[in-house]
């Protein structure tokens, strides 16, 4: 059963209405089906014969083409090779991948306010993700405040403000060029004073190679923690699914700097598989918590490792859920 929002948010008691679930599932299917088609063709073309070396090579090739990386692809193929029999390659691979990611993810919202810091390199979709997440949280009955911590990029604040309005969230901005740590501080202050449940803080995109900007991010986190011990409760690294092997380096450096608690994998509505999250899980033990599958407010889903694994080899995500 595909992981749903209630489980991710820790609202297990409130089931999603069947209607909206179907609608969401159709969107997910639609979103991932574009990726599925490309890879499904490739995998379907592999007449899976465990004794044929070439088949294993083709599988490895398909995984590398999914940005899994040479090492992880080899590792996965090895693990599959150790199995005694494989009836359904898609299912087997999905199992391996799911095993890699560990237990289903959770967002730690059991605080008032729960603070979420959003970080990542330029162009990955941080601001859009915050809009979607805020919308989902307000829909679940929580009150949300977003803080415009990107004080560098032209019109970044205006962009976030539009999303905040769409999501029905409160908004704290800045004076252009203001210290991002100060904005983070203001956002938490306001969150506490106004009695919000969740405070989400946006930050400017930055390459992990820019040491001064990474220092700035460390400072933002430190200021947050000082103002509210225990915060930020979630630090989400937003990663573009089209990213290649550099994604691993991004995850490493950002993790070292600000203790990333989870990854948001965006732009999965394209043809890229986002396979880089596999070595990220392998080497850093970092879970993926959310996936982005489009540019509208609803296009955010909890990460389901089995679905992801199946999609990697072209299977149908969430096959056991009712079809629409």
């Amino acid at each position: 059963m595909t992981l749903g929002w209630p489980e991710l948010l820790g609202d297990a008691a409130a089931p999603e209405p069947e209607e909206s679930r179907r609608g969401l599932f159709r969107r997910l299917r639609g979103g991932l089906s574009r990726s599925r088609t490309a890879l499904a063709e490739r995998i379907a073309a592999i007449r899976f014969d465990p004794d044929d070396d070439e088949t294993w090579q083709e599988l490895e090739e398909a995984l590398i083409l999914g940005d899994v990386g040479v090492q992880a692809a080899g590792e996965l193929v090895q693990r599959l090779g150790r199995r005694r029999s494989i009836d359904d390659l898609g299912a087997a691979l999905a199992e391996e991948v799911a095993g890699l990611f560990g237990p289903p993810p959770r967002l730690d919202l059991a605080h008032k306010p729960a603070v979420i810091l959003v970080v990542g390199v330029n162009g990955t979709g941080k601001t859009t993700t915050i809009g979607k997440l805020a919308s989902r949280l307000t829909a679940s009955g929580r009150s949300v405040l977003v803080g415009a911590g990107d004080t560098f990029r032209a019109a970044a604040e205006e962009q976030l403000e539009v999303w905040a309005k769409r999501a029905g969230a409160d908004f704290v901005g800045s004076n252009k060029g203001q210290d991002p740590a100060a904005v983070a501080f203001d956002a938490i202050e306001a969150g506490i004073a106004r009695g919000h449940d969740v405070v989400i803080i946006d930050t400017a995109g930055r390459l992990h190679t820019q040491t001064n900007l990474m220092e700035e991010l460390i400072k933002v986190r430190r200021v947050i923690e000082r103002r509210l011990p225990g915060a930020p409760h979630e630090t989400l690294l937003v990663l573009d699914a089209t990213t290649g092997q550099n994604g691993l380096q991004q995850a490493k450096i950002f993790s070292q700097a600000v203790q990333v608690t989870g990854v948001v994998l965006t732009k999965l509505d394209g043809t890229a598989k986002g396979g880089i999250v596999i070595p990220i899980a392998y080497e850093l033990g970092l879970p993926v918590k959310l996936i982005g599958v489009g540019e509208t407010l609803d296009d955010l889903r909890p990460f389901d490792a089995a679905d992801f694994g199946r999609a990697l080899v072209g299977g149908d995500p969430g096959e056991d859920t009712a079809a629409d």
Partner: protein
Amino acid sequence: MFDALADKLQGVLGGLRKSGRLDEETIGKAMREIRLALLEADVNFKVVKEFVESVRERALGQDVLTSLTPGQQVVKIVHEELAALMGQGDSRLAFGRPPTVILMVGLQGSGKTTASAKLALRLRKEGKNPALVPADLARPAAIEQLEQLGKQIQIPVYRSELRDPVAVARAGLERARAEGIDVLIVDTAGRLHVDEALMAELVAIRDATKPMNILLVLDAMTGQEAVTVAEAFQQQVAFDGIILTKLDGDARGGAALSVKAVTGKPIKFASVGEKLDQLEVFHPERMSSRILGMGDVLSLIEKAEEAIEADEAVEMEKRMRSGEFTFDDFLRSYRMLRRMGPLKGVLGMIPGLGKQMEGLDVDEKQMARVEAIILSMTPKERRTPHLINGSRRLRIARGSGVSVQEVNKLLTARKEMQKMMKHLGKGKMPALSPQALGRAGRR
């Protein structure tokens, strides 16, 4: 990351003997490591396959430069092939009757808006009169973003209240015409290559503005799908070149190679930072080194090549001091000097010669004629110039398209230089007069 790979290569190939020809086994071993390096650099799987094959063919049977290991020799070939591949095509923009339109296309988040502003700034510095059109109506505050950037660099931004990107682009073009703009840069919304509706919209924008340049903006950290994306954009919209962005990161940038290999379109610019002046012309050699990620090995190769030249120079000096100065030496010294830059400049650097060099007029064309004469000699004639009798002189003159008198003058000059070298060798320092040096290069 890079060092580990260079070490691995050393380890795998270091044991093999130092000189000789490249055989299949050596090449096979080296190409395995190189294939790995390219895949780790995000070069597309299929592109790697083809590239490795073509290099393998070229490498087979090649001579190994002394002081390079066979493995390093392979790396040298790979680097050259990569640079050649990356460098093909015209990196300039096309300009026509104003206003020339440049259309910026690509996936979401690739850096189109920033690149548009950077390009406008660059063009203005080159003396053009550019303007920008914010045709991204999808992303919240995208128009404001381009407007703010335009203000920063004082370049007009043609905002429109129209709700359709095609109409906005068209309106921008009309305004550009009316206001005497040279170049109009149209920023568009990021879009997926598999979004039929949005790709159709892009085609409509293209048809409405008839751009002379369509640039695909590509993030340097893009992985394997770069090929699929580029092919789709090429098929549906047909772009002319690529702008590679976020190169200030540490992504190896293999996507650049993939896209170039598959579409044949050149990379025109590299974006190397968030500031608006951080747009550079693309350097194929630098990119190849970066993709290969074998910085250490490449500098080793460079040093090896320098060393070879140094060795040859030492050999020549030995001969000169013993009284030999053949035409091979002549040619070698010419070529070395040429490589170092204009002769005058180089000679002027020698302390004590500076002033005297002012009287010296170095004629590069003349030097080329001298080179042609020497190349018309047989190797034996070059080694033993006293063999060159009348009939040989005639043949040489005909073969190089000069008069016999010129050949005679060159032979005399060489004799004089040999005399001079002999004196040097014996410890006597005759006046290194500009005339003596000049005679070697003058008619």
